[in-house]
Symmetry: C2
Subunit: 138 residues, 2 copies
DNA sequence: TCCTAGCTTAGACTCTGTCTAATGAAAGAT
DNA sequence: ATCTTTCATTAGACAGAGTCTAAGCTAGGA
């Protein structure tokens, strides 16, 4: 039983077999998958699952506040079951692999008042870019 | 004569009328446009310019290192003629307005070695989100 | 001026994601 | 247990952003 499934059960939300497979796929990964990667993996467990269901379900999980949607590479969205608001992301420029990281300092503190231009700044997230161990070798 | 055109002239790169219109459109703006917005504006000066040329040219400017490509909203890319590598972006959650900001500390220093997971980390950029002065009022 | 590399063009194509209309399954009421 | 209503799932059509292709055009050097 994954933690994400537990969290989703608390909402008034039908837990269908398709939704369970999607939630378990998301939650079991240490990297953040795209919708198509989740579809691939879900198809191994439930071959007849449809693309629309995967997209619908991911959007609903995001709307429920139990999954974060990441727009990091400009190609496809990735989904993060970790909803803590103090984490950031490390992305491989070679293959697009994405994972959570934690920093020592809160980046909000690094933006001085005179650089806020009258904005009410609520949130800051850092995107780190580089090459993952696999892509460094090739 | 825009500063971006001056910078582009330093490269072995044909300065065609199309490329000049695109460079001047980009450089004259205070916000960061999408490729389609640039196409719209370029068409006012040169009605027969093609979509492919705008996309090709923007990609070449990025490859020359004279323009930065931003993936901030997951929909379409935006182009920033400011290529200083130590600036970040402040985005309004209300209207999407985007502007450059500078921070006190380099965010790369806030990622400890044991959070790098074997990656060769090259770059870090911060996205600040909040409400701009106009959107705070309404 | 002529030549040639390389630029521009229209339109087809790909990829990611959304929408629609029809079918299928769950949960409360009887 | 069955009915009924509501919501979920499905295949496929559609939409938006961006890339590719093949043909013609042009900038700039010889």
């Amino acid at each position: 039983m994954s933690d994400l499934v537990t969290r989703l059960r608390r909402h008034a939300w039908r837990m269908t077999p398709q939704r369970r497979v999607i939630a378990e796929t998301l939650d079991g990964a240490h990297v953040h998958y795209t919708a198509d990667e989740i579809l691939d993996r879900a198809c191994r467990l439930m071959p007849e699952i449809s693309r629309a269901t995967v997209y619908n379900t991911l959007n609903e999980m995001v709307a429920l506040g139990e999954v974060l949607e990441l727009n990091l590479d400009g190609r496809s969205k990735r989904y993060d079951p970790n909803i803590e608001h103090d984490h950031h992301h490390l992305i491989c420029d070679g293959c697009g692999a994405t994972r959570d990281v934690h920093t020592l300092a809160d980046p909000l503190d690094s933006l001085p008042g005179d650089e806020r231009h009258g904005f009410a700044v609520a949130e800051a997230s850092i995107t780190f870019r580089g090459l993952c161990p696999d892509c460094r070798r090739s």
